[in-house]
């Protein structure tokens, strides 16, 4: 199909029969995909040099709708798979997308070690506090006492602090945004892609069908309003009102040598060339 008369963002969407998508009405994943594609558009990424990698889960279905090289890997394995792609072809822009269960539970070890290597990948974690694809089980980010199908009496386990783990494991940029703050989210994704090294965007999202319904959080709109009312910019003053709100924006940024570049130096050294 020709995309001549369509907005620029359609450049990155597969228009040949991939729609309608599989996501539930009111799901936040579409908003994240929208922000992603707008980030690609504004950065004018060459879609023939772009590879979007995912694991398994609702969030991991996003690459199937994108018109670039797309790599729908195994549950939890998006990051090691993307590591192979990036090392084999460092010239490609490699973006990884996954959910809280995929990236942090089954893929938790890969998450830590990919951050430690500081390889140039941009990771978008869509955090909707539960496993959506399998029907609403608790995940490593489900709040204590929240209800899930495998936590019918309330979740006992404390949630992971994604940004603190990413930071201490070695990510060079850690940001957070939400599906309510769609433009802000796009800017966070842009920043992550532009920054060299392992970068993490936590995109807090609503799952009205499962997590929202089980925890009586109301409709998708109500959940978005909750995200609006319970988050605050990192730049906002430290008032009593802001104390218990989730910070959004750039949570951590530093500079460190990137893995594929360091590897090129290793190759020179092995060849006996001057580094």
């Amino acid at each position: 199909m020709s995309s001549d008369n369509l907005p620029e963002i359609f450049e990155y969407i597969r228009l040949d029969g991939r729609f309608p998508h599989i996501l539930c009405p009111g799901c936040g994943i579409g908003t994240v995909m929208n922000a992603m594609v707008r980030a690609f558009t504004e950065l004018k990424l060459n879609k023939n040099r772009l590879c979007v990698v995912s694991g398994i889960g609702c969030s991991s279905r996003v690459p199937g709708y994108l018109d670039c090289d797309t790599y729908h890997t195994l549950h939890g394995r998006a990051l090691p798979s993307a590591t192979g792609v990036k090392l084999a072809r460092p010239e490609l822009e490699v973006v990884v997308i996954g959910g809280d269960g995929d990236i942090l539970a089954i893929g938790g070890n890969h998450f830590i070690h990919t951050a430690r290597r500081n390889i140039n990948l941009s990771l978008i974690i869509i955090n909707n506090f539960n496993y959506g694809m399998t029907g609403g089980q608790f995940s490593p980010t489900t709040p204590v006492q929240a209800i899930a199908t495998t936590a019918p009496y309330g979740n006992l386990e404390r949630g992971f602090n994604i940004s603190e783990i990413a930071k201490s494991a070695g990510a060079v940029l850690v940001t957070r945004s939400t599906t309510y703050h769609a433009v802000h989210l796009k800017n966070m994704i842009k920043k992550a892609i532009q920054k060299k090294g392992f970068t993490v965007v936590e995109a807090i999202s609503q799952c009205p069908t499962l997590y929202g319904r089980m925890n009586r959080l109301g409709s998708a709109v109500k959940m978005l309003e909750w995200l609006r009312d319970n988050t605050v910019s990192v730049a906002a003053p430290e008032t009593k009102e802001n104390e218990n709100k989730l910070k959004i924006g750039v949570l951590w940024e530093t500079e460190s040598e990137e893995y594929t570049e360091v590897y090129q130096n290793l190759i020179k050294k092995a060849k006996g060339e001057k580094v």
């Binding site: 090289d69 797309t70 790599y71 890997t73 394995r77 590591t83 192979g84 792609v85 490609l92 070690h113």
Partner: protein
């Protein structure tokens, strides 16, 4: 001429066959392959990466091959167990995958430094679902080199996982060998169609049609979900059946040229069917027995166990009165051999699972 171990010969064979990426995790008795790769690959601009575990290793290797470069990993039993999901992913996405599994005693941690041939059935059926697989079993240092080259070419051509099964004896033993500088390398063809017409799974005849990797402008979609010819997921029963037939036929349509075995003296009444290091004991036993008795012993030595050469073995073993199958397991491949011969022909197994090598004497005991 060089004095080399089987593990080193595998690594050298892989590099000669064009492997430029290795992802692995340390595990006895395969680690020398990773160490060799870490030392040599950067010198030729290749990549070695030590991953956080074997799951990550096979995924990184799959990612590198999906991006169009030849890649390999090496492991042993416990790591091979962890790699099973990545093997299935290679089957489904039809992206090459090369695993050297240097077999040690199992189950679990088992006998890290001791030989075994216990992963014969795991190599065939370790990952879930019906799937194609090729497994090669070298018996010498020279064959480690040649079968690794062959493994890489088969994997590139048929787009499926190929497993090289060494046992610890073959992996660690040293022999004086010399290898050719140049070997035949299979390069898959590139499509003549543009990205809008090209179908990644479009070749339904020999399954060795054109392929592309990431970054080649074809904007491909690889998925472990059962998919259509264009790579996108499906629940349509007819399309699912097409995909499953396709995976099966990759072997069915190509087994005649795939099968790889060696045989001698098949006119004998007794034939030993063997592979890997136990084949060395079998040849010793044959020599000793023939000298002592004046009677000949036949041998079929399998260089490839999967696909298993059922039809060929039925023909080759037709005249045999007795078949002997020595294995360093409790009888894995012997069941397949029983399926190929008439029920009146006894298949006598000689098994050893105590971490020691299966000796010529043990085979001589059943030769009588």
């Amino acid at each position: 001429m060089e004095l080399l171990s089987g593990n080193e010969a595998c690594a050298i064979g892989a590099i000669r066959a064009g492997v430029r990426f290795f992802a692995g995790y340390p595990i006895t008795p395969s680690t020398e392959i990773a160490e060799y790769m870490a030392h040599e690959l950067p010198k030729i601009g290749g990549i070695f990466i030590q991953m956080e575990d074997e799951i990550a290793s096979i995924c990184a290797m799959n990612g590198a091959t999906a991006a169009g470069i030849k890649a390999m990993t090496a492991t042993s039993g416990p790591g091979f167990s962890l790699m099973q999901e990545g093997i299935g992913y290679s089957c489904m996405t039809e992206v090459p995958c090369i695993i050297v599994n240097v077999m040690r005693g199992g189950p679990a941690t088992g006998l890290p430094t001791r030989p075994a041939q216990g992963d014969i059935m795991q190599a065939r059926w370790g990952t879930h679902g019906d799937h194609p697989i090729v497994a090669l079993v070298p018996w010498s240092v020279a064959e480690c080199f040649h079968l690794t080259v062959q493994a890489i070419n088969i994997s590139e051509r048929l787009r499926l996982p190929v497993i090289i099964l060494l046992d610890e004896i073959v992996g660690h033993m040293r022999e004086v060998v010399s290898f050719p500088e140049k070997v035949d390398i299979y390069q898959p063809p590139k499509p003549t169609q543009g990205p809008d017409e090209f179908l990644l799974y479009g070749d339904d005849t020999n399954y060795d049609g054109p392929v592309v990797g990431f970054g080649e402008g074809y904007r491909i979609h690889l998925s472990g979900l059962t998919h259509r010819k264009d790579g996108f997921p499906t629940n349509d029963p007819k399309t699912i059946a097409w995909k499953m037939e396709r995976l099966k036929n990759k072997i069915e349509h190509n087994k005649d040229w795939l099968w790889n075995f060696f045989y001698t003296d098949l006119g004998a009444e007794t034939i030993i069917v063997c592979y890997g290091s136990t084949a060395r004991s079998a040849f010793d036993a044959k020599k000793i027995y023939e000298k002592k008795s004046g009677k000949s012993i036949g041998i079929v030595r399998l260089c490839m166990i999967w696909p298993f050469p059922y039809e060929r073995l039925t023909t080759l073993l037709r005249g045999a009165k007795k078949i002997i199958v020595p294995e360093m397991n409790q009888g894995q491949l012997s069941n397949e051999i029983e399926r190929t011969v008439s029920p009146d022909v006894p298949v006598i197994t000689v098994n050893r699972v105590d971490g020691e090598m299966l000796t010529p004497e043990e085979i001589l005991n059943v030769l009588g």
